[in-house]
């Protein structure tokens, strides 16, 4: 059971990384135009954001 001492913090840390990634995407306005971003990949020219 001593392995829990390592595994629990690891699992929490992994979860926290996921949460931070989610907050990061939020801060970079990645959910404001889901339709547009999906369509943008079809455009030939690359104007950049």
């Amino acid at each position: 059971m001593n392995v829990l001492v390592i595994l629990i913090p690891v699992s929490l840390a992994l979860g926290a990384v996921g949460l931070l990634a989610c907050l990061w995407t939020l801060r970079h306005r990645q959910y404001e135009d889901l339709e547009g971003d999906a369509a943008r990949i079809l455009l030939e020219e690359d104007d950049g954001p």
């Binding site: 829990l4 949460l19 989610c22 547009g36 369509a39 455009l43 104007d47």
Partner: protein, 699 residues
């Protein structure tokens, strides 16, 4: 003049970049998006153009004004409108981001607690189980406190007002589950409900976010249309002209309005002669001729020549604003509509609380064990959680609104969908709603047609434009010395003789040398989709009434053409409003479709109302939905989508009720476990969402 101190004021000096948001409802695909961005970026002065396809808007940073941007998009076939600058300021959507953050936190906490719970369910023993329970508490409690705040706040507000909404049982379930679980961890008990409390919060937050997203999309698009109300005016001063925001105008200011523009405030003509289009204000289809001394109202469009005006009423005192206020009073009645979800909550909340209380009392009397009795009561509250109930309505609204948005209809009000589903009669306005103006030109021979076209092409007058449109494809004659006399017509020299297109005794006349004047009779053509809408109404057994401010002749003709038996002509705005109010008193649920200021009162008095995007602000403000494209058939589609959405909502309530019918007896019997709650909660939520998604394919 008063306007000079205003910080928004622009002079002709070196401009700095400004940001505009244009609403471009015609954008539907990647191709359109590319075209719009490329077109705008290629314009001189434009620094950046970025489309938001979901909102059908483009954000442009430019050194120039918005007008060239709109003109360039019009050349590419996109109808664009400038959005109000105030909307730009409030465009951040902080509420949506906060909800997403809460969802993220709840999901993170739920996943971690679930991992710990799985260990407990698969048989973790004494010390390990207690450790896992305390760990779960350490993760869940702060997460619940943060993520659950929208529910707690709303429940508290409702309770303070002595009301019960859906958030009251939700908050109670979350709080009791958390409290009970802490107690279980404390006494080293077998069951903790932290994961149930968190998944409940997560699913409900998702429902809340979906709801928020639908409303915001509709609101921002509806706000986009307010730009029709001329945010800027050209002020004439001793030193020249400056463009100022309309809000800064004062009574007595001299303003100039160019052909094609709307009059910004109520005013009196000081100089110039021009025709005015007031069809949106009164429903009249013929233009009015304005000369010095004529009073003009805000919202009228100047057609032929520039006018210089003196402002007589500004700001809240303009006729447009007064009308808007009258409308908002009439709207009060409609806002009393109780949303389906709230009606469900009114039945649901007392029922569940009653059951939980009965469970507690029953167990306490039967066994005398207060701890066991409390456990049963809490399990009942959690397992009957309105998870599926919380998603039942928003999931359907999102699917239905996005279906309607793709077809060009924006729902402005959150209950519009439910009210649309209840409609049992339709009232239609004629001018501008069912019909658009055009001219009867079949009797012109080739020679007359080519001269008429050439004359018409040299003017912006609506009649001239209609003539040019009707004769499209004809070879225009070669004219010289074209001269337009405002309010009278156009003359020119053709083959050394004078020809004329203009006002005659009975309508617009075409004058050719050595021939009698030919009258071009105005004729109204039906908007696309008008027939489809009437057919839909007939198939759905909805009675249709035609209500018009126009003369009896044209109204009778259109009514006969469409097969509408019930029509009324020459109605005043008050008549229209009274008729709608009478129908409402008689218990009818009327859908009103109209576009003019004369319809605004009736639109507000109707059970639910729709106006086309070309309608006046006051009319659009009074409506529940705005039709962006010109196709009236979409109104029929909206009615059937709304009815299907209502059916899905009721089915979802049925699903939630079935699930409760199974789980409540188990919970009351004391068999409910946290594992059961976790499985039941997620399956019922997924079922409800899947059922809602069936709407996306709806025709």
């Amino acid at each position: 003049m008063t306007a000079f101190a205003d910080p928004h004021q622009r002079t002709t000096g070196a401009p700095d970049p400004r940001t505009f948001i244009l609403s471009v409802p015609g954008m539907r695909c990647a191709g359109c998006m590319g075209t719009v961005e490329r077109t705008l970026s290629a314009l001189p002065g434009v620094a950046a153009a970025r489309v938001n396809l979901g909102d059908k808007q483009v954000r442009v940073t430019t050194l120039t004004d918005a007008a060239p941007l709109i003109a360039a998009l019009a050349d590419e076939g996109f109808d664009a409108r400038e959005m109000d600058q105030d909307v730009l300021a409030s465009d951040k959507d902080t509420e949506g981001r906060a909800l997403l953050t809460r969802i993220g936190v709840a999901a993170f906490a739920m996943m971690n607690v679930m991992i710990l719970s799985v260990a407990v369910w698969s048989g973790a023993e004494e010390a390990t189980r207690a450790l896992f329970h305390w760990l779960s508490a350490a993760i869940a409690l702060p997460a619940l406190a943060y993520s659950g705040r929208p529910f707690f706040a709303s429940a508290l507000t409702a309770l303070r007002a002595m009301r019960v909404n859906m958030d009251v049982p939700i908050s109670l379930a979350i709080l009791l589950a958390a409290g009970m679980s802490v107690h279980e961890a404390w006494v080293h008990g077998p069951d903790a409900w932290f994961d149930a409390a968190l998944s409940l919060t997560l699913f409900l937050l998702i429902g809340r976010y979906l709801d928020h997203r639908t409303r915001r999309a509709a609101r921002s698009a509806a706000a986009a249309l307010t730009a029709l109300e001329v945010p800027r005016a050209t002020l004439v001063t001793e030193t020249g002209t400056v463009v100022v925001p309309t809000a800064t105008l004062a009574i007595g200011d001299i303003i100039r309005v160019l052909p094609g523009a709307r009059v910004p405030v109520d005013a009196e003509v000081v100089e110039g002669r021009a025709d005015l289009d007031r069809s949106l204000i009164t429903g009249e289809s013929l233009p009015l001729s304005a000369t010095p001394g004529t009073a003009v109202a805000a919202g009228e469009t100047v057609l032929t020549a520039p006018l210089t005006l003196r402002a007589t009423a500004v700001g809240e005192d303009t006729s447009l604003r007064r009308m808007a206020r009258a409308v908002s009073v009439a709207e009060g009645a409609r806002n009393r509509h109780v949303a389906l979800a709230d009606r469900a909550a009114r039945i649901y909340a007392p029922l569940v609380h009653g059951l939980a209380a009965a469970g507690f009392l029953g167990w306490f009397i039967a066994t005398g064990d207060a701890h066991k009795a409390l456990l049963v009561a809490v399990a009942t509250l959690i397992i009957t959680c309105p998870c599926a109930l919380g998603l039942a309505v928003p999931a359907v609204s999102v699917a239905a609104s996005s279906r309607l948005f793709r077809g060009g209809m924006l729902l402005k009000s959150s209950t519009a969908l439910e009210r649309l589903a209840e409609v049992d009669a339709i009232v239609l306005d004629k001018t501008g709603t069912l019909t658009t103006g055009s001219l009867h030109l079949d009797h012109l021979d080739d020679e007359a047609a080519s001269v008429a076209l050439a004359l018409a092409q040299s003017s912006d007058h609506p009649v001239a434009r209609a003539v040019a449109l009707a004769l499209d494809g004809t070879q225009p004659a070669t004219l010289t010395d074209v001269c337009e006399i405002a309010g009278d017509g156009i003359t020119a020299i053709w083959n050394d003789r004078t020809v004329r297109l203009g006002r005659g005794p009975t309508g617009t006349e075409l004058g050719l040398p050595d021939r009698p004047a030919m009258t071009l009779t105005p004729e109204e053509t039906l908007r696309p989709g008008a027939r489809a809408l009437i057919d839909h109404a007939r198939a759905a057994h909805l009675p249709v009434t035609l209500l018009s401010g126009d003369r009896a002749g044209p109204v009778r003709r259109i009514a006969a053409d469409l097969g509408i038996d019930d029509w009324r002509a020459e109605t005043t705005p008050q008549d229209k409003m009274d008729l709608l109010a009478d129908r409402a008193r008689a218990g009818q649920r009327v859908l009103m479709v109209g576009d003019g200021l004369n319809d605004a009162g009736a639109l507000a008095a109707a059970h639910v109302s729709i106006s086309p995007a070309s309608a006046l602000d006051a009319a659009r403000a009074a409506s529940d939905a705005v039709l962006l494209g010109g196709d009236l058939a979409m109104v029929g589609v909206a009615l059937s989508v709304a009815r299907q959405a209502r059916r899905r909502m009721l089915e979802n309530f049925g699903l939630a009720a079935t699930y409760n019918a199974i789980s409540v007896p188990l919970a009351l019997a004391g068999f409910a476990t946290p594992l059961m709650a976790a499985i039941a909660m997620s399956t019922s939520s997924i079922l409800v969402v899947l059922n809602a998604l069936r709407l996306r394919a709806a025709r």
